[in-house]
Each structure stands twice: as C-alpha cells, then as structure tokens.
C-alpha cells in the first residue's frame, strides 16, 4: 500500500440539491480551512431547487492550489440517481463512502476502489426525532465519517459549528450529535484508508478569509460609492445584489437619519439598465449586476449610455448559454457580447478580476473608470469566481479619492465664464477625447443640455449632419484610446530566455498557475500574462512579440479574447494557440496541461 499523502485530497460529495448538503459541505470545508490547510471548494449545482443532482468538491492542497482538481480521490455517494456514474468518477485506488443502510449498496460493483459503508439513515433515525429536518441531518453523518477517516479533530468541527450557528446552541447540538455518530461508527468499525491524511498546519491560514467573488465585488461597489443599484434576479449574479442588500444598511451611515443608497429590484433587465442609465445621467454612481441573458436585454441602453456618454457600471457574472440548463455552470463566453455590446460602433471598457481581492478592488475602481471616461464599464466575472468559496488574503482597501472625472459644478462653470470659456458638452476640449460634463441640478445657466443618442453635435444640439456624427464617433474612439493608458495593466510573470508564454484572464488564473508548475516539472518552462482589462494595453502586444509560442487559455468555444487580440494586431495575433475549455465546469490544471501538450506535439515538425 502507498503511504498516504499529507494534506493532498480531493473529496467529491454527490447529493441531491435541497437535501441540506450545502450546510454539511460548508462545515467540512471550513473545518479543513481551520486546520490551516490550503483548500478550496467548487459547487456544481443544478438549475433547480430540490431533487436534482449536485456535486460539491473540496480540495485540500499542500501546494496551495485552489483550482478544481482533475481527479477525485474520495466520492461521497449520497445520491442514488447518479451513483451508477459517480462510481466511475473516482480514481483508481480511490475511496467510495456510501450509506449501507440504503438500497444503493447492491449496485457497488466497480473494482479497484475501496468501499466504506456506514448506516447514515439508521444512525440518524436513532438520534433525531422524526421531523422534516431528519433527512437533512443525514448529511451530517458523512462529515463525521470523513473527519474520522482523514483526521479532522472533532474539536475543530465543533468550533466551526459554533462559528456558523453561534447563537443557536440547539442547532449546534443536533448537528454535532449526527457528525459524532458518523465519527464514532467509523472508529468502532476501525475503518482505515491510505489515500491521504489531513494534518493541521499551525498558523497555516492565519489572517486568511473565505469569501465568494460576488460578496467581494458587492463590498467593493459599496466602498466605491455605488448609490443607485438596480438589478433583476438571475443566476449567478443575484447573490451580488443580495450581498449589497445585506451590507449596505450595515456599512453606510445614514444621513438625516435616512438612506444614502437606493437599491431596486427592477421588473426586468431592460428596466434595470434603463434605470442605471438615468441615474448615471443624473450624477449618481449607478450599477447593475446580471449575466449573459441580462446583457442581451440591456443592449439598447448600453448603446445609449455609450453614445450619450453616461457613466454606468455593469457587473456581469458569466455562465452557460441561454434559457435553461447551464445557468448554474461557469463560462467566460460573454466577452465578445460585452466588449461590443449594442448597435452602432461601440467598444466598452472591461475590468476582469481573477481573485477575491481583485473582485473587491476592481469593483471599487469601476466607478472611477465610469466617471472618468463617462461610459459604461463592465466588470467581467464568472460563476466560479462569483459563487464558489475562495480562501484569500483579507480584502484590502486602497484609500484614494473618488475620481469624478470632468464633472463641472456650478462654481466651476462660474469660473469658466469669468475666464471666457464656454461649456460644450460633447467637445474635445483637452484633446484626450473626454468631454466635460454637467449633471442635472447644476444651477449655472450654462449647465443644462439636451441628451440624445446618436444625433447630436459637439454642443449637444440635435444634428443629423454627417460631419457632426463622424466627429462624435471619432472622438469616442479617441476616448477609448485614452482609456487604454489608464485601465489596469496585466500581471506578468516572466523569466529571461523562456520562449513559451501563456495568457489568460479571470478565473482561468488559478488553473493556469497550477498548470505552469506541472508543465515546468515536465520540462516546459512558461512565462505568464494575466489580462485584467479591455481595451488591451501595450504590455499584451509586447508579451506576444517576446515569445515564440503563445497559449491563450479561455473558457469559451470561440476563442473570444484571442479574436479581440487578432482584430487589433493580426500579425501578433496569428501566434496565438488557443486553449479552450468550455464544458461549464471550473477549469482544471490537467485540462490546460493536456491541451498545451497536444498542441505542442502537433506543432513538432514531423521527421521522416
């Protein structure tokens, strides 16, 4: 038998959704975190409330990798309907934990894996009085079984329960009884396994937090000054707006004893976009959150905001395609949709977080970009970042003044008048493509203007004149070029002499980090560039120029980011070899490594 790995383990829990497993999985994950072990979790849940299959993977990684692990070491098989397939999802030599008091046991026919059965149903029936929650408590039993098998001390479990249910001692007690029953049963049976052991790392996760990207982004938006928030429920973005609903009253001090924010659940995404365009026009820091289908509905207002030059922030939590089926799975497949959203010639600023702190910080900064460039700004996230729990350094606030851009007050205009300057809403006064702006309520006589979509001249007068229209379009392009110099630069990790580069963005960062280590171990050294914004900055082109081979990893079928690069620089873009992962699951390092090796091999010159 092999010696067990220390703190290297991937557990997959297969249950039905709505069965209470979210709570058990959370306790298990947090217990491992509390032991100081680097760990991450991936929730693969259905678009349903009760009764459909759901899988939750918890990974402990001594090396500190946080992406989904390729292989499953332990399968907790608590869903009869998927058991026939689940049994083959665990690796050879892996372990299957199952409830031997159900009919499932008869179907366990695969060789090469270890089976550990324990009577979860029976144990719970003995311990918990018949009630609607009894079935849910069943899931607590596997927490105890896993704790015994892999070495999680019950005192850690107890501490997590106290953190989670602090004010409800009865809940702590009832959960603890069930967990302990699982633990004690496995102990009595003297079950052993040789896959892995979890060993506490003193101060291992000290100072680290666990959060989801949607929460981090919500907090970032609050710190960034969002004051009008209009949204429509859509997975996987709803929890961002809901986190704002939770935190705003707790964080924003009232003024005149009243609220300093308006949060409105709109009737649809058409309305939520219209509302934030109206609010941005009137001078508030306005935002919405949605996902791909919402962007489709918002398109018309996005174009209006682009042409009328109205600051507005759109948080887009990407998911699978239209309608039903994949809304609860992750993708990076709305990059083109966002970048060119709406009709007419448009190009939009996009900020692309890749971890919890960048979700927080780019959310905060998005309002500065929107105000500075007077345009819609997209914060492009995805379900993996937004809804999964990630360990992270604490959220860090960069304290800097709000940048309201070229917004003129009544007093500013008074000084302009004295200086003989005229306010011209859509005129390129400074040569950077960014005009000056006033907002309604400005009492200066020069301040008011009439806002329209495409038909206006540099003075905001109605115009269908061909020169006026071209002037506006060209200036908007110039503004976009100015933004190119301001948006967050990529993060580059490179060594001299390395000829292969990998580019990625967003939630692909973590699997790519792990993949690079694996590639290195197999003899392929790589440099790395993480794109953090659109428009692309010069560093991206430099990186392309500096490397012989470039792999661009993204989570969509059509190589959407590669297309943007190729469009801007066809020659350098031609070097890109796309690594495309689009099965709806969080990307694994193994998927990246496999595609890169495949591509590298097929690129080898064939010898006779």
């Amino acid at each position: 038998m092999d010696t067990p790995l220390i703190n290297d383990l991937n557990i997959c829990v297969a249950t039905e959704n709505g069965s209470g497993s979210a709570s058990s999985n959370n306790i298990l994950f947090k217990a491992i975190f509390k032991m100081g072990i680097p760990c991450s979790s991936k929730n693969m849940f259905p678009s349903n409330i009760q009764g459909l299959p759901t899988w939750y993977q918890i990974r402990a990684s001594a090396d500190g990798y946080l992406s989904r692990k390729d292989v499953i070491d332990v399968m907790v098989m608590f869903n009869d309907s998927t058991a026939a397939k689940d049994i083959y999802r665990v690796r050879d030599g892996g372990l299957i934990l199952y409830d031997d008091s159900t009919a499932l046991a008869a179907n366990l026919k695969r060789d090469g894996v270890q089976y550990v059965g324990f009577p979860a149903n029976k144990l719970v029936a003995k311990l918990v009085p018949a009630s609607p929650i009894r079935a849910k408590q069943r899931n607590m039993v596997y927490v105890g079984a896993l704790a015994y098998l892999f070495g999680i001390d019950m005192s850690v479990i107890k501490a997590v329960l106290e953190d989670t249910f602090g004010k409800k001692p009865a809940v702590i007690e009832s959960n603890l009884i069930c967990i302990d029953a699982g633990y004690q049963y496995c102990k009595e049976q003297n079950f052993k396994q040789n896959i892995a052991r979890l060993e506490p790392i003193p101060n291992g996760n000290k100072g680290k937090i666990i959060t989801e990207g949607n929460t981090a982004a919500a907090l970032g938006a609050i710190y960034g000054g969002a004051s009008v928030i209009c949204w429509y429920p859509i997975t996987p973005s709803s929890s961002l707006a809901e986190a704002m609903e939770y935190y705003l009253p707790r964080l924003r001090k009232p003024k005149d004893g009243k609220k300093t924010y308006a949060i409105v659940q709109a009737e649809d995404e058409i309305a939520s976009a219209g509302m934030i365009v109206g609010a941005g026009w009137a001078g508030a820091r306005a935002m919405t959150s949605t996902s791909g289908p919402g962007v489709s509905l918002m398109n018309e207002s996005i174009g209006l905001a682009y042409f009328a030059e109205i600051p507005s922030v759109f948080f887009i939590i990407q998911r699978g395609g239209p309608s039903t089926g994949l809304p609860t799975r992750t993708q990076q497949s709305d990059i083109s949709l966002m970048y060119g959203a709406s009709h007419g010639d448009t190009r939009h600023l996009m900020l692309i977080p890749h971890d919890m702190n960048s979700c927080f910080d780019l959310a905060r900064q998005s309002f500065n970009f929107a105000d500075r460039f007077q345009t819609p700004v997209f914060v492009a996230m995805d379900l993996d970042l937004g809804m999964n729990l990630w360990p992270s350094e604490p959220l860090k606030l960069h304290q800097e003044p709000f940048d309201l851009g070229k917004r003129l007050t009544a007093q500013d205009l008074e000084e302009w008048t004295k200086a003989g300057k005229k306010f011209r809403r859509y005129f390129d006064q400074d040569g950077d493509g960014i005009p000056y702006r006033t907002v309604p309520g400005n009492q200066n006589r020069m301040a008011s203007y009439f806002t329209r979509g495409s038909g206006h001249d540099a003075d905001a007068r109605y115009s269908e004149d061909e020169h006026d229209y071209k002037y506006i379009l060209d200036r908007l392009r110039k503004k976009f070029e100015t933004a190119r110099k301001f948006v967050p630069k990529p993060i580059v990790e490179k060594e001299r002499g390395v000829k292969t580069g990998i580019i990625c963005y967003g939630s692909s960062y973590e699997p790519v980090r792990e993949a690079r280590d694996r590639l290195k171990a197999r003899g392929l050294k790589t440099n790395h560039l993480l794109i953090r914004a659109l428009p692309l900055t010069s560093e991206v082109m430099d990186f392309l120029a500096e490397h012989e081979t470039i792999y661009l990893v993204e989570q969509n079928r059509d190589a959407q980011m590669a297309a943007i690069i190729k469009d801007e620089n066809p020659e350098l873009g031609a070097k890109i070899v796309s690594v495309l992962i689009y099965n709806g699951l969080p990307t694994t390092a193994g998927e990246v490594v496999a595609q890169i090796f495949d591509a590298a091999q097929s690129a080898q010159p064939k010898t006779a």
Binding site: T164, S227, K255, D256, T260, G278, G441, T451
Partner: protein, 342 residues
C-alpha cells in the same frame, strides 16, 4: 411694448421657451407643449429644477420645444419610465416631466410604464395619444379603437388599451385625461400634475394631423371634438392665491394638492369624487361604452408615498453625496474581514 407678465420667480413665460418645434403644422403636440410651458410659468417653477425625459417618437421629440433651461434626455424607445426612475432615485430633489406617445407607452414601453406607476415614481407623465405611430408613418398603435380605420383603409379589430384605466389599476396617484385642443382644461390639469408628488399620468388625446385625421379614424380632430365627455370644468389655484371666490358649496369639489395648491372641480352633471377609485374606473367604462372620451381629473390619491420617500432616501440627492457619505470607514472592512476568517 408693455412689460411682460412675470411670475413669482420674476420670470416671464418666455423664460420657459424651448427650441422651435419641428412637428407637422397643426399637430396637437405643439398645443400640449404650450400648455406645459404655461403650467410651469403659472406655477412659478424654476426651470433649472426640472428634468425633461422622453422615449422615442414624435411626442418624445417635444421636450426640446419647451423649457430650454432644463436638462433633457431623449432616451430610447419605451424606456423613459425606467430612465426617469433612475434619474429620480439619483436626484429626488428635481422635478421630472416625461413626455411619451401611445406607441412608446402602451406598446414597447408598457411593462416599464406599469412598474413605474406601481412604484409611484414622482413624475408628471404625459402621453400624447393619437392612436397611431407618426414617426414611422401611420401604423396603428395599441390605443387605436376597434373599428378605427387606417389611412390606407385597414380596420383595427384589436381592443384599445385605456391608459387612464391602466394607470388607476396599477397605482398611479393622479390620473387625468384631456384633449390637446382644450387648453382651458389641459393647463390646470398639468398644473395639478406638477403640484402632485407621485406618478401623475395625463392621457392627452392629440390628433395626428398627418396620419390619423381622416374619415373613419376615431382619433381625428373632428371625431374627438364630437365625442368629448368632460366630467367637470376645473380651475387650478396655486397655494398663494385666495380661492374662496371661485368655490361654490354643494356644486364644486375641491382637491388639495401636496404643495398646498388646489384644484376646483365645477360639477357638470353627476357628482364625481376623483378619490373614489371604483367610481373612476366605472366612469371610464361607461364612457367607453358610449364611444366617448372621458376627460378631466379622473382619479386622485393623496395618501400614497412617492417612491423616494418610500425608500427613505436622504434629503440630499444621492448624486450630490461625497466620498465621506458613501465610503464606509476602513475599520468596517476590517470587521468584515475578521468575520470572514471564521
């Protein structure tokens, strides 16, 4: 030339002018713009506190033709309700007026319009209703009556949406109908709407002289004039004027507005209490059954809070708040971080 009349802000009616209109000659919309301009002047409202919003269509162009000192926003088709909602949340100290058409409101924008009224957004919302799409040259709108004939002879056989009834049902708190050709009635109704806090909906029949003014149309000038069904004559009395002279006990009904102004309703036929919701809807139905346009102040509800008040927004406009107001202290984030360590 004699000195022009000034209002309490020392402004003349000319100070409420807009750009020259580009509507067709004789278009009812221009008469409505004139009533709107008059109402602002008479109510002594500072144009710099007004925001004008619209969607798309002939009617939606008209906010450019009055109050050029106000900010204006000609948004996209059907979305004025949503845009106005956002603007109102960003700065509830401003006075929004929305101008829309029957296509913009009752077809493409119907959903957003309904929800704006459900929220009771503080706005004066005027629908310049002519039963036809003007800017796209003459298609039926959703307010075209059954049996009305299009210019080319096509007959409409789908029932019309009655915007006044819809407004009452969905929570609007000031609902009136009028006719562009009746400034005597329209101006005080606009004045009342401007004094009201909440969604004030004015469905103004405004015949399209180019595409819907022919024989067989139920929204032609001639047809509308012959089928008006006014509930009452009315006068608007600003808060600073003595009203007693105009008011006759027994035959007149008086409506008190949020800002202290009053609308005096002089009875024409039956007793009519505009605060009675069921009676209002019944009156609309009765009028439709007779093939007439019920006009006047149809419904009024002074008791419902407007949305910004319902949300308990601070007195200062959200758009004017500073970083001090909006950015929580660093310590608060540190506490959240500590919670997330558990």
């Amino acid at each position: 030339m004699a000195d022009a009349k000034v209002n309490r802000l020392n402004l003349t009616e000319k100070d409420y002018d807009g750009a020259p209109s580009t509507m067709c000659r004789g278009c009812g919309h221009d008469a409505i713009s004139a009533s709107v301009q008059r109402a602002y002047f008479e109510n002594s409202i500072d144009p710099r506190k007004v925001v004008k919003l619209s969607g798309i269509g002939c009617s939606s162009k008209t906010p450019a033709y009055f109050l050029s000192q106000s900010f204006g926003f000609n948004a996209v088709h059907g979305r004025m309700s949503a845009v106005a909602t956002g603007a109102n949340l960003a700065n509830h100290t401003l006075l929004p007026i929305g101008v829309s058409g029957d296509g913009d409101t009752s077809a493409i924008g119907l959903g957003n319009f309904c929800h704006m009224m459900r929220r009771n957004i503080n706005i004066t919302y005027i629908i310049e209703n002519n039963g036809v799409y003007g800017l796209t040259k003459g298609q039926f709108s959703a307010t075209a009556d059954v049996g009305s004939v299009m210019k080319g002879g096509k007959v409409n056989d789908i029932p019309a949406i009655d915007l006044a009834e819809l407004a009452i049902t969905l929570g609007a708190t000031y609902v009136a109908r009028s006719f562009s050709g009746d400034r005597k009635q329209l101006t005080p109704l606009v004045q009342g709407a401007l004094s009201h806090k909440g969604s004030a909906i004015l469905d103004v029949i405004s015949p399209c002289v180019t595409f819907n003014n022919h024989e067989g149309s139920t929204k032609s000038l001639k047809y509308v004039k012959g089928h008006l069904d006014p509930i009452h004559d009315l006068d608007f009395v600003p808060p600073y004027e003595n009203i007693e002279a105009d008011y006759e006990e027994g035959t007149d009904h008086q409506v008190e507005m949020h800002d202290g102004s009053r609308i005096i309703l002089h009875k024409l036929g039956k007793d009519y209490d505009p605060t009675n919701r069921a009676q209002a809807i019944q009156a609309i139905h009765g009028s439709i059954a007779e093939g007439k346009f019920l006009t006047g102040l149809i419904y009024y509800n002074p008791n419902r809070k407007e949305f910004a008040e319902e949300l308990n927004l601070c007195d200062m406009a959200l758009a004017e708040l500073t970083q001090d107001d909006l950015q929580p202290p660093l310590e608060a984030l540190e506490r959240i971080n500590a919670d997330m360590m558990k």
